[in-house]
Amino acid sequence: MSQESSRIKKAGRHISQNEGLIFEKSAPGKRGFELPPLDVPPVDATKALGAAYVRDAIEGFPEVSEIEVIRHFTRLSTWNYAIDLGMYPLGSCTMKYNPRVNEFVARLDGLASEHPSQPANVAQGCLRILSDLQKCLLEITGMDAITLQPSAGAQGELTGLLLIRALLESQGNPRKKVLIPDSAHGTNPASVVIAGYEVQNIKSNAHGQIDTDHLREFVDNDTAALMVTNPSTIGVFEERIAEIAEILHSRGAFLYMDGANMNALAGITRPGDFGVDVMHLNLHKTFSTPHGGGGPGAGPVMVKTIFEPYLPVPVLIEKDGRFALDQNRPRSIGRVRAYCGNFGVLLRALAYTLAYGPGIRQATEDAVLNANYIRKGLEGHFDLPYKLPSMHEAVFSDARQKKHGVNTMDIAKRLIDYGFHPYTTAFPLIVPGALMIEPTESESKEECDLFIDAMRAIAEEAEKNPQLVKTAPHSTRVGRLDEVAAARKPVLRWKPSTSGEAAD
């Protein structure tokens, strides 16, 4: 069977280096780092600390030279796909270009070097960066007050829910439950539980939107909030968002917005204007901070004025052009992490925002344009379960290909052979066999065309040669890996004794 296709245009094969684990290159006496000589008298650790407090040498700890370290990690890097190589169409993840200048400024001496406990009068530059970012994010979202502390989106969700809880408690009743649509991200229900609430799932209607009649029945005096992702995870704007907010507000409940999909809205419309009370942003999505293989992120939370007294400590305050951190906030929900959050990520998000200014609208427009262009290009080739207009992402299903025994995961894996990273496969849960495609604004027309071509070619292969698709990828260093064995008998670390087998 031919594994090459004349239709694979974006990718060719080239050599990649084999490489073992760093522990397998280790030999006694090699080293990759040397310290300057000690300029004070040496101290014997055993004498200084007492024998009971001193450790032995670590068995199996690597001993390698600098060039070996460079080669090892450079070789590893070539086994990864990356935005810098091409389109990364993971729906819901907003894999856009991560500007290099952001990396440069994050490493400046005087920023990267600053200690979070240093007095405010020698940290004015850091505090001004935080203040400027706060102002930008409030303007973009139309909200009133903000905390930059949460480490990532999930922690932002938890912070937002704790703010809602604190306000309700001050009114005498924290209430019991939080409503979550069946299309939501998994972090939503998990965060609800940690905030001390019960999850109540609500079903989407036939268009994948929140059913307002259904919602009306569910919202009662025990409802604290509804968590809505807008645009929803099928990439569609909740057209009745104002009515949704009104249903909640009329019963004393609040509208929480998961801002994961803000890339469809920035510069076009503002959550604060359409009734949102509390929301978070994922700066590693809309605001271009690098994913780095799984983090770091940052998850600022924006609120309406009534929630302001409850924001996590410390709160950034400005007086006569000088900035300070206010720890004395008696009604605060407390801290959600140490220090002021992921400053290095926040700084990059500000650099991104400054680069665009009001022109951020153009980025949003291009993101939506790309998604619709791809949707148009794939209609007729893949099943489109929800027909409402798409915004920043398009969600297809594998219904047609299933008839030939090919599912969304197979198509995704075959896409790798065509030189692309797969789209999102197992999500949203309301679309069985989902193909969730989010190109972002960073893709040229040429890259979008290559993607459409690749997807159409795979659709054809699924009909004519399904086995080729089902056994993909064919061009990678390793084929599909045995996840069952990995989970049944987990091997989660290298061990000296098993190194011989592992190296085979």
Partner: protein
């Protein structure tokens, strides 16, 4: 396919009653739907369970399924072999991969459940829905 002396639930558990003891497992249909089982979580011996209550979970690589107790009773034994070899559930769901033994609270409880013929019909219906 489905042993005639077992009783079955709509959630795809089976129970085999002998005197005041019930042996409980999941059906072949259930293991097939789950795919390769990688982990089984079972209750402690001595736990009292009510009919319909979760007795534990069965995990595949990307899914977790609750197992519901078909009848009420007290756990007298768990199948410790499943901790090391969860794949037994895929290999022999109606035999070696039993999950727990229960001292029944009410001996006749299981009679209300489906017999093998009824369950077979129920599963056939399910499969039709799936392929539709």
């Amino acid at each position: 396919m489905y042993p005639a002396d077992y009783r079955y639930t709509k959630d795809h558990e089976w129970i085999k009653v002998a005197g005041d003891t019930g042996t409980i497992g999941i059906t072949d249909y259930a293991q097939h739907e789950l795919g390769d089982v990688v982990f089984v979580e079972l209750p402690k011996v001595g736990t009292t369970l009510k009919a319909g209550q979760s007795l534990g979970t069965v995990e595949s690589v990307k899914a977790v399924s609750e197992i519901y107790c078909p009848v009420s009773g007290e756990v007298t034994e768990i199948n410790s072999a499943l901790a090391k070899t969860p794949e037994l559930i895929n290999q022999d769901p109606h035999g070696a991969a039993w999950l727990i033994k229960l001292k029944l609270a009410v001996e006749k409880d299981a009679d209300a459940l489906m017999d093998a013929a009824a369950y077979q019909a129920y599963v056939t219906e399910k499969q039709k829905e799936h392929s539709a």
